[in-house]
């Protein structure tokens, strides 16, 4: 995994819970190019703990002088976002992974319909300048519960095609009506809560949208759970996965090589064969097909409950 050592140069609160961070090269060198929808993995050394969180890049892809991300503080989370808000200081040098795009625009689309739920607006902040430059037809629907959560509005370019939906003001997004009114060749992109993504996908497919025109992204954070034991057959070692730890983190702590990219159940890199399972796997990823779940596990987000799990690592 290749990464860059970048300096934190700005930290701007955008809303009560969302802060924008800007990273630049310590010697002001140009950064690798990225496309709208890309994310970076941010490494946080938090005392004994190492957090690695994926954040979508929100800056204009044509700006090669810095990478910007927006982080929503999750007080009930595992600590990564709290570290970003509370422990980072301007001038600090942090390890930032190279940009990876799992949510790229399909440029064959006639129109791009972007649906953001709350902080899910982040990938669209980089895609909109790209679409505007291409002269492509697009529409952003930005749905939040309360008006103060519209943190991204000031970051959108002047004249952006944005429709705001504030639930508390009785202006909820009418997905069925919106999707039914789209011209041929429209692609749908949804970045939101799991519930909203499911609703958008189900509505689109029920209306006859083909799968290829429906895109979504949601990074899961590994949820804490019961500690469990795992036997790694290839390395012939048995590990304990702590309550606050993911299986992937336990493998890394033991020095067992496991490929990864998103660490959020979306990209498929860490897919691992299950050789034996005396218990039940708690699958939490968006990667495995239902039929694969008996014999595969995504160590980044999924856990195990039972006597012993044997995996091919």
């Amino acid at each position: 995994m290749t990464s860059l050592q970048l300096k934190l140069t700005r930290k701007d609160p955008l809303s009560p819970r969302i802060t924008r961070f800007r990273f630049e090269h310590p010697r002001a060198a140009e950064l690798p190019a990225f496309s709208g929808g890309a994310h970076v993995m941010v490494e946080m050394r938090d005392g004994e703990r190492l957090h690695r969180n994926a954040y979508s890049l929100i800056s204009d892809p044509s700006d090669r002088t810095g990478y910007e991300i927006a982080v929503q503080r999750e007080d009930g989370g595992r600590g990564g976002s709290r570290f970003m808000h509370g422990q980072t200081r301007i001038g600090m040098v942090m390890n930032i992974g190279l940009p990876v795009n799992l949510f790229a625009l399909d440029l064959t689309a006639r129109k791009h319909l972007l649906i953001a739920g709350g902080v899910g607006v982040t990938p669209f902040l980089a895609q909109i300048p790209q679409l505007a430059r291409l002269g492509a037809a697009y529409e952003l629907h930005y749905a939040v519960r309360r008006r103060e959560e519209l943190a991204a509005l000031p970051l959108l370019p002047a004249g952006a095609a944005v429709h705001v939906h504030v639930g508390a003001e009785g202006r909820r997004l009418d997905l069925a009506a919106l999707l039914a009114a789209q011209p041929l060749g429209t692609h749908l992109y949804v970045c939101a809560s799991e519930r909203m993504i499911r609703a958008a996908r189900e509505t689109a497919l029920a209306q006859g949208w083909p799968q290829e025109a429906v895109h979504s992204e949601q990074f899961l954070a590994p949820a804490p759970g019961e500690p469990f034991e795992v036997h790694c057959a290839a390395s012939d070692r048995t590990l304990s996965v702590g309550a606050e730890q993911s299986l992937l983190e336990a493998l890394e702590a033991a020095g067992i090589e496991t490929p990864w990219l998103c660490r959020g159940g979306a990209c498929g890199q860490c897919e691992t064969a299950v050789l034996a399972c005396d218990g039940s796997i708690e699958h939490r990823d968006h990667w495995l097909e239902p039929a694969e779940r008996a014999s595969r596990i995504m160590p980044c987000v999924s856990r195990f409950r039972g006597r012993l799990l044997t995996i091919d690592r």
Partner: protein, 199 residues
């Protein structure tokens, strides 16, 4: 009914399968005389769909009554595939995402209708096709670009440049035609005897 197995060598060879109902906001069905029966089977499997369906029949006057009896929202009849572009443009002009297209009949009808619909923005995943009737193909000469309709033999003589053309499984989705390549380029005059296209 003939379902053509994909040639293992040529990835672009269109794959056809029996039409199956799918959730859709509206439907556009296109068939020729042989394909219309596939639409009747589909209508039988998904009775609710016809009230949201435009049916476009191409040189299939004999099936118009049976299709009309299914009460489609609209029935349009055209005399030949030459009228297909104008008829499809009209049907797709105000279409919205959620439209599903069902094509049934010859390779020529299917290929041409699919190319027009995709040029109008309809995603490939919203188009189903079932091959019925003739094995003849719609061919494009790769040398002079002339399109020949209903080519029944391999090789065939290009109506544009006169070359004897080998009927390939290579298919252009954009043009909606198989590709015909000069069969005797290496050995001028040595042409295999034309045989009927059977798959």
């Amino acid at each position: 009914m003939t379902t053509v197995p994909p040639s293992p060598a040529i990835a672009s060879r269109p794959r056809h399968a029996p039409l199956v109902p799918r959730p859709c906001g509206a439907a556009l069905m296109v068939a020729d005389q042989a394909g219309a029966a596939a639409l009747l089977t589909l209508a039988g499997a998904a009775p609710g769909i016809m009230s949201r369906t435009t049916v476009l029949l191409c040189a299939a006057g004999g099936m118009a009554g049976a299709i009309r009896a299914q009460n489609p929202a609209r029935l349009v009849q055209i005399a030949s595939t030459a009228e297909l572009p104008a008829a499809l443009d009209a049907a797709l002009r105000d279409a919205r995402m959620g439209l599903h297209m069902f094509l049934a009949g010859s390779e020529g009808l299917i290929g041409q209708a699919r190319a027009i619909a995709m040029a109008a923005g309809l995603p490939a995943g919203a188009i189903q096709s079932e091959h019925r009737g003739t094995m003849a193909r719609r061919m494009q000469c790769v040398h002079c670009k002339t399109i020949a309709e209903e080519v029944a033999t391999d090789p065939y003589d290009c109506p544009g440049c006169g070359r004897a053309l080998f009927v390939r499984d290579h298919f252009s989705r954009r043009i909606g035609a198989f590709q015909g390549v000069c069969v005797d380029a290496e050995t001028p005059g040595e042409r295999p005897r034309p045989v009927e296209i059977r798959a």
